[in-house]
């Protein structure tokens, strides 16, 4: 379990009187629990604190106040940091800035080498990770020859090779075109069927996280609310306040409701299509 307790975080914090100095915290008094196996979406505007929190979970940044613990290991404990990092892996926004190796195989092997994976098993593990994400490339293929979507799949393979129990996708689809984005999300769901992990998905695209267990809305470094997608989608104003737009089919469902047509609150894209086909 991930336990975030009353956490405040300032970038470049060095003094105790940050608030007095007029600096705004990236996160302010955030408390959260994330259970094993959960699929959680962090939602909010740019600068609302979603990515800052993801960095705290992996121990890249440490909280200025409060604690973040992963399976009982506090991230501020230097000795526990390798365990925390191994358990929580992140796929970042720009795939090019997270790839160290020249070839697909080398890039996946980089992380394995860091954690001291037995040398004789590295090649097998690399092949396993490539196969898991369905990357259509052999391990000798240069990273520069991959498309944007393939590069992000490689980034996913590289972190999954480390067998994380918590996976954070920090706007991992934001640099992809719509087709590549859909493919990446489909790959992710396929991977989750084969390999179980807690998923923390940071995005601005609500349609990618409609099947999440829980949405957590951020605003100005604070958690505004959390709840199931079905519950939160009803509060359109709150979503708008958090800089979020409903998926097109939810907007259409809302317009139909306003016109007096009975459309259930919790409806997905396919159900709405069926409803429209029946009524016509």
């Amino acid at each position: 379990m991930i336990d975030i307790r009353n956490t405040t975080f300032y970038y470049n914090a060095s003094q105790d009187d940050e608030e007095d100095a007029g600096h705004k915290p990236a996160l302010s008094h955030v408390s959260l629990n994330i259970s094993p196996g959960e699929f959680v979406a962090f939602l909010g505007r740019n600068g609302s604190g979603k990515s800052s929190l993801s960095r705290l979970l992996n121990g890249i940044e440490l909280p200025t106040e409060g604690t973040v613990s992963v399976e009982g290991h506090v991230t501020s404990d230097k000795a526990a940091l390798p365990t925390v990092r191994r358990a929580v892996q992140i796929v970042f926004q720009n795939p090019e800035n997270q790839q160290v190796g020249i070839t697909v195989g080398e890039d996946i092997a980089f992380g394995l080498s860091n954690i001291g994976w037995p040398q004789r098993d590295i090649a097998n593990r690399v092949a396993w990770a490539i196969n898991l994400v369905g990357l259509d490339a052999d391990e000798d293929r240069p990273v520069t020859n991959l498309s944007g979507g393939e590069k992000q799949k490689l980034a996913l393979a590289a972190v999954l090779a480390l067998a994380p129990r918590y996976l954070i996708l920090d706007e991992a689809t934001s640099m992809l075109d719509p087709v590549a984005r859909r493919q990446f999300v489909a790959t992710l769901h396929e991977v989750r069927k084969q390999y179980s992990f807690t998923l923390i998905y940071i995005t601005h695209h609500l349609e990618e996280v409609t099947d999440a267990d829980r949405w957590i809305l951020f605003q100005s470094g604070r958690v505004v609310t959390s709840g199931t997608p079905a519950d939160l989608m009803e509060d359109v104003r709150l979503l708008q306040d958090c800089g979020l737009e409903l998926p097109y089919y939810q907007t259409l469902a809302g317009l139909l409701r306003e016109s007096g047509i009975a459309v259930p609150a919790a409806i997905n894209e396919h159900e709405l299509r069926e409803l429209l086909c029946k009524s016509s």
Binding site: N97, L112, T144, L162
Partner: protein
């Protein structure tokens, strides 16, 4: 794009790629020393020809080879002028052509110097184009391992070197994008006098510098999040074993170096 392809390693399954990285580095050092120390035009020419043969065996592009040598033409021209015209020693055979006099011995010195420059550049190009940066870094680290006893940050230095190699082509591409963007806005360094061209470089270098810093920062975060903590507890990606092939390369490099004392 020729500049980018010159720097980028791509797997071609050549004989040179199968050399052990340690032996490859040692062979490059020995061959480089032989190139610098040889005073025989014949031997230098033979060494250069051998490098060109190796280029072919490495399945590297002949266009890239031509581009590499052409990009050195300004060095070749200035070296030839300096050696044969400007530093002609009194008493040497002087050949007069129109109003120019040049020394034939100086011309030979110039050719040897040009072969030396071309040889060193080709040697390094062969090394980086037939060895993946990670493999090169691992080889270099294994060779420099004894220095760790004096607490020298060998691993960190080698990792920086390999990442610099990995990102060089990306930076070249980024520079090209910035250059085109500046040209589209009427800037750039391709027009007018020298001072204007010189001033035009700065608006291109600044964004490149800023981008490099951002990339470096992002990469450092990504490496750290993938459990990188220096060489502590790392396993090498590949198992390196010296084979008969590698010993043959080493022996040849020694013979090549010894040959300069015979000629």
């Amino acid at each position: 794009m020729a500049g980018t392809s010159f720097l980028l390693y791509q797997k071609r399954d050549s004989w040179l790629e199968r050399w052990d990285p340690r032996m490859k580095i040692v062979a490059v050092l020995l061959f480089g020393a032989a190139l610098l120390l040889t005073h025989s035009l014949g031997l230098k020419t033979a060494q250069l020809l051998l490098l060109i043969v190796l280029w072919g065996m490495a399945k590297l592009s002949w266009r890239v080879l031509a581009f590499t040598l052409l990009s050195l033409s300004i060095f070749f021209a200035s070296t030839m002028i300096y050696q044969s015209v400007l530093t002609a020693v009194p008493g040497e055979d002087m050949i007069t052509w129109g109003w120019i006099s040049f020394s034939s011995q100086g011309a030979v010195r110039g050719i040897m110097m040009c072969e030396q420059i071309a040889g060193i550049v080709l040697l390094l190009a062969l090394l980086v184009r037939t060895t993946s940066p990670i493999v090169l870094a691992e080889g270099l680290e294994m060779l420099l391992k004894p220095l760790k006893k004096w607490r020298l940050p060998v691993h960190e230095a080698v990792m920086m070197f390999s990442i610099a190699l990995r990102f060089l082509p990306i930076l070249i591409e980024e520079f090209d994008k910035i250059r085109k963007a500046q040209l589209a806005r009427g800037g750039g360094f391709h027009r007018k006098g020298v001072s204007t061209r010189f001033r035009g470089v700065l608006p291109m270098l600044m964004p490149l510098f800023v981008m490099s810093i951002i990339r470096a920062k992002d990469l450092a975060v990504a490496m750290e999040s993938r459990c990188y903590q220096g060489d502590e507890g790392r396993t090498p990606i590949r198992m390196y074993r010296l084979r008969a092939n590698d010993y043959a390369v080493f022996s040849f490099s020694i013979v090549n170096l010894a040959a300069i004392f015979v000629w």
